[in-house]
């Protein structure tokens, strides 16, 4: 009996069961990837997370608007949750710095995270049995669902859209290739056949209510699995199933305006895409739209930055080759970062961006969508004071502050170097020809002097190339990371707000005695939000740290390379004139 339940349950429940009674063996992959992401997700369908996820059985007490699946109500799990919530409530009174923040997310960890090995990404996700003690090492990183289970974890049966969660399901969207009619986005649209692409492992078990395959939907295991897979893509590229490129900039001249479009090419084997290949043209404002949409629909995640929107007209020629190329590279990077993200890459807006022939039509529809979802998607901002920030987020915040400071300094130094190099170049350009003039005066020395002049000319060319490269390749990436840091700090602030709201509500509840054993759903919703946010953020942070290391390694090695090439060119030039200088004229 238990056995039957075991297999018919969505895997999050399976995991909660698994976690509580016995230790779980983490799989072989390095634990630090994607950990908290998964950790949170399994626990509750609860808070609007802005990402597609499995509608796992909600807590019975949650007033979550999504219609609960009766078959999925898990008393066991609910009990655990409630107990933990009660513990939390008690702990909240005591209020130690780590305790409260740990409490916020501990229950999820506690509930199903036993025995997870690997690193504890700091306090917030430390699993603990007692509210007041933080146990490193039993982090949500432990949650490591074995792969096959992940596949089967989908919500059985009814595809259920979650109006308050994330982006509109694919199912509810008009298919880009279907007849376009602005359909009412109701929860019960019958999916167009081509949208439903079950993976074929098992049938509807595998697809989410919104049609996305299970891989991505079941938050904890599958996304962590994906995290692992996709983060390892520098090691084995074969696991990637989505490739996006930005190239071929073209200028469009219309009556009203002139602008540049870029070709966005997609190659994929993913089920969410009808075709294996797409090629569309997009302009900067489309990318900007996409980024905004991602921020709205995935507020708990770090969204990569875009190159700067505004250019001072007259100072920078926004149609110059260099500018367009720099922008193209940045846009390409932007899309690639989204592609690499296990959650963002499955975002519906992203999908439409990559595939829709007429993005503007979709954009207009999207407006209606937003208003419905906007409320639940947006967190309360402001008005709550955070009591204690979890150590790890405080550490991240401090790190980011120093990091962006240092980057700013490096940017200034690099600019200064380029400036000095250009001034040096100006002088060199005058220097070389003087040797030539002198050569004109001389007879025997004429050739050597001309040779020196030409040599200096070659060095000028090499220097010009170096400065251009640095301007076009080095500075933009630096600036991108500064922008990235800024947006990360904003996300951190949002997280703080979410936590603050939760704490405030919890405190209010704790003061009222009559709500005892029953934790108000409101508070639980907040708690879920906090935990979800923390988990997502932590996962993204780790990914970001790793990517940052690789990006900077590449960037700085590139800088060193360019300088080496510059000196090699000059060396060749000077070495080649030595024989010319040593030449003795035949007649002496």
């Amino acid at each position: 009996m238990y056995f039957l339940i075991f297999f018919s349950m969505p895997f999050p429940i399976f995991f909660s069961l698994l976690a509580a009674p016995r230790p779980h063996n983490p799989p072989a992959h390095p634990p630090q990837r994607g950990t908290p992401l998964g950790a949170r997700r399994k626990r509750a369908p609860g808070p609007p997370r802005g990402h597609t996820r499995v509608p796992s059985p909600p807590f019975p007490s949650l007033p979550f608007p999504s219609p609960p699946e009766p078959s999925r109500a898990e008393p066991c799990r609910g009990q655990v949750a409630r107990a933990a919530a009660a513990a939390r409530g008690r702990a909240a009174q005591g209020r130690s710095r780590s305790a409260s923040s740990a409490a916020a997310s501990a229950s999820s960890a506690a509930a199903w995270q036993r025995g997870g090995g690997g690193q504890a990404p700091a306090v917030a996700t430390q699993s603990r049995a007692e509210p007041s003690r933080a146990e490193p090492g039993r982090a949500s990183s432990g949650r490591r669902p074995p792969a096959p289970v992940a596949m089967s974890g989908a919500a059985p049966g009814a595809p259920k859209p979650l109006p308050s969660s994330g982006p509109k399901s694919l199912r509810e969207m008009p298919h880009p290739l279907a007849t376009s009619s602005s359909e009412e986005m109701g929860p019960a649209l019958s999916p167009s056949p081509d949208l439903l692409l079950p993976r074929g492992i098992a049938d509807k078990d595998l697809s989410l209510p919104n049609g996305t395959p299970v891989d991505t939907s079941s938050p904890a295991s599958s996304s962590s699995l994906l995290n692992r897979l996709q983060l390892d893509d520098d090691l084995d590229g074969e696991t990637r199933d989505l490739f996006v490129t930005v190239d071929d900039p073209k200028k469009h001249v219309c009556t009203m305006e002139t602008y540049i479009t870029y070709r966005v090419t997609t190659k994929t084997t993913r089920a969410e895409f009808d075709l294996p290949e797409y090629s569309v043209r997009r302009r900067y404002q489309d990318f900007d739209w996409l980024r905004n949409k991602l921020e709205e629909s995935q507020p708990t995640h770090l969204i990569p930055p875009l190159p700067e929107k505004f250019v001072v007209k007259g100072v920078v020629d926004r149609f110059s080759e260099e500018f367009v190329e720099t922008r193209r590279k940045a846009l390409d990077k932007f899309l690639k970062r989204i592609t690499d993200h296990p959650v963002l890459s499955f975002n519906e807006h992203f999908n439409v961006f990559l595939t829709a022939k007429d993005l503007n039509a979709y954009k207009k529809q999207g407006m209606a969508l937003l208003s419905k979802m906007g409320e639940s998607v947006k967190y309360v901002t402001g008005g709550y004071k955070l009591r204690s920030r979890p150590l790890e987020f405080a550490a991240i915040g401090e790190y980011l502050d120093t990091f962006s400071l240092k980057l700013g300094t490096i940017d200034r130094i690099a600019q200064r170097i380029i400036k000095e190099q250009l001034e040096y170049l100006v002088e060199l350009r005058e220097y070389g020809p003087v040797y030539s003039t002198w050569g004109g005066l001389e007879v025997e020395l004429s050739e050597p002097l001309e040779g020196v002049s030409a040599c200096i000319g070659n060095c000028c060319t090499a220097l010009e190339e170096l400065s251009e490269d640095m301007t076009e390749d080095f500075l933009p990436v630096l600036r991108e990371y500064i922008l990235y840091s800024e947006s990360m700090k904003n996300v951190l602030k949002r997280r703080d707000q979410v936590q603050a709201e939760y704490e405030a509500k919890l405190e209010a509840v704790a003061l009222k005695k009559e709500d005892r054993p029953k934790v108000p759903t409101d508070v639980e919703k907040c708690q879920d939000r906090v935990e979800c946010f923390n988990a997502d953020l932590k996962a993204d942070m780790e990914r970001w740290q790793n990517n940052k290391r690789q990006d900077f390694r590449q960037l700085l090695m590139g800088m060193a390379d360019k300088n080496i090439q510059y000196y090699e060119k000059c060396l060749t030039a000077w070495e080649s004139i030595i024989p010319l200088l040593q030449d003795k004229p035949e007649t002496k």
Binding site: K406, I410, Y431, R553
Partner: protein, 426 residues
């Protein structure tokens, strides 16, 4: 006492004694004597106005070169001289050997400086470069076939006391041509030797182009200095950044160290380049010496032309008096026509005087002509010698400059390769 400068046989020893390229003739002083300017010292003393002054004195050391050595070192003689004494020596040589391209002294004041270099005469780097320049000057004179035989020069090297008086006793200052006279000659000479005219243009243009080159080079050095030094900032910021990083920290830190090395390397590079600049400067000043020889020729030529002109007019006068006809208008002729004629005796006397003068003049003209031709011959010989020397020296200078650039490029490659390796370990 100085040799008579016009002896053409003395002026061309290199023809009688073919040497390999660049070597001074075997009989010149440089072969017999080792000369160095080994030290420089700050001194204070009283000058001609009895005012306190600070100056730098240079130690000249000389030692006879024994061709047959039983391992003995001959004793070193030494004496101290200051820059003004070098100047006195050179002025003496200029006046005494106007047909020779006299080697120049290093610059009196620091010129063509870029911001790191001091323009102060007392600056140790300047003093050091001047010391080298003075030694170079002495070696140039000592290896010149004509100049090396000069007694005053020899005493300059060997006789501490009383040298100044000795120079002044030669009375060379009196023989010096006045600048005004020379300028006048330059403008008015009608038939200078074409080669000298060309040489004059060449030396003007050479001066101009080398000055330009030195100025731009100084600016280039300045800018290059700036580029290298800014990289030092990378060292600091990488170090600070590495403090907040875990895996990236070590790579950043060690890369920063290499950036510091890079920034520091420019000091030595540019110091070496100053020697190249000094070599160029020598030839900048040599151009002035060339110009001086041309001026002398113009002066002599002008003198000759004036003397010839004078002779012609005297002859004409004579003829007029003798024949009684007036070829050209002259006030004297007019007045004598108006106010009465001279007596035949007076006329005879005049004619006699004129004839004497004419004879003198013709002899003078002859000797001047000879002088002029000798000057041209010997000057041109030295100029040819100078041309060879210049081509050799400047080629060497260009080669050493290229070598410096090559070395700088290699250092740059090395540093950035090291940095790249550090980055790869990030």
């Amino acid at each position: 006492e100085p040799l008579i400068p016009m002896e053409s046989s003395e002026a061309e020893p290199s023809e009688s004694r073919p040497e390999e390229d660049g070597a001074a003739p075997g009989n010149c002083l440089a072969k017999k004597m080792e000369i160095t300017v080994s030290e420089a010292e700050k001194r204070t003393g009283r000058n001609a106005m009895n005012m306190q002054e600070t100056y730098t004195a240079y130690l000249i050391e000389t030692r006879a070169v024994e061709s047959q050595n039983e391992g003995q070192c001959s004793p070193v003689d030494s004496l101290w001289r200051r820059y003004s004494e070098f100047e006195l020596l050179r002025n003496y040589l200029l006046v005494t050997y106007p047909h020779i391209v006299v080697p120049p002294l290093p610059e009196k004041r620091a010129d063509f400086v870029w911001h790191k270099l001091s323009a102060d005469n007392m600056d140790p780097d300047f003093v050091e470069r001047r010391r080298i320049g003075l030694e170079n000057f002495l070696l140039r004179v000592a290896s010149h076939p004509v100049l090396c035989q000069d007694k005053i020069f020899y005493s300059f090297l060997t006789q501490e006391g009383g040298w100044k008086e000795m120079v002044n006793e030669t009375g060379f200052q009196l023989k010096a041509d006045s600048r005004l006279k020379a300028l006048n000659a330059t403008f008015r000479v009608k038939n200078p030797d074409k080669r000298f005219t060309e040489l004059k243009h060449y030396s003007d243009e050479l001066q101009s182009v080398i000055s330009h080159l030195l100025r731009v080079r100084a600016r280039v050095a300045d800018r290059l200095y700036g580029v290298y030094k800014v990289h030092g900032n990378y060292g600091r910021v990488f170090s600070e950044w590495s403090a907040i990083e875990k895996e990236m920290g070590d790579g950043l830190q060690s890369a920063g160290h290499h950036m510091d090395v890079y920034a520091a390397s420019i000091d030595d590079i540019l110091e070496e380049e100053e020697h190249y600049a000094d070599q160029l400067k020598e030839y900048l000043f040599y151009a002035e010496a060339l110009r001086a020889v041309c001026r002398k020729h113009e002066l002599m030529q002008y003198d000759l032309e004036m003397a010839a002109q004078d002779l012609t007019s005297k002859k004409q006068q004579c003829e007029e008096l003798a024949t009684g006809t007036m070829r050209t208008f002259s006030l004297k002729g007019m007045t004598s026509k108006l106010f009465g004629q001279e007596t035949p005796e007076q006329r005879e006397a005049k004619i006699k005087i004129l004839e004497e003068q004419i004879q003198e003049g013709e002899e003078q003209l002859k000797s001047k002509n000879l002088e002029g031709r000798d000057f041209v011959k010997s000057a041109w010989a030295d100029i040819e010698r100078f041309k060879e020397q210049k081509n050799r020296d400047l080629k060497e200078a260009l080669i050493s400059y290229a070598v410096m650039q090559i070395s700088m490029c290699k250092k740059g490659i090395q540093v950035w390769t090291n940095a790249k390796e550090c980055f790869s370990k990030m």
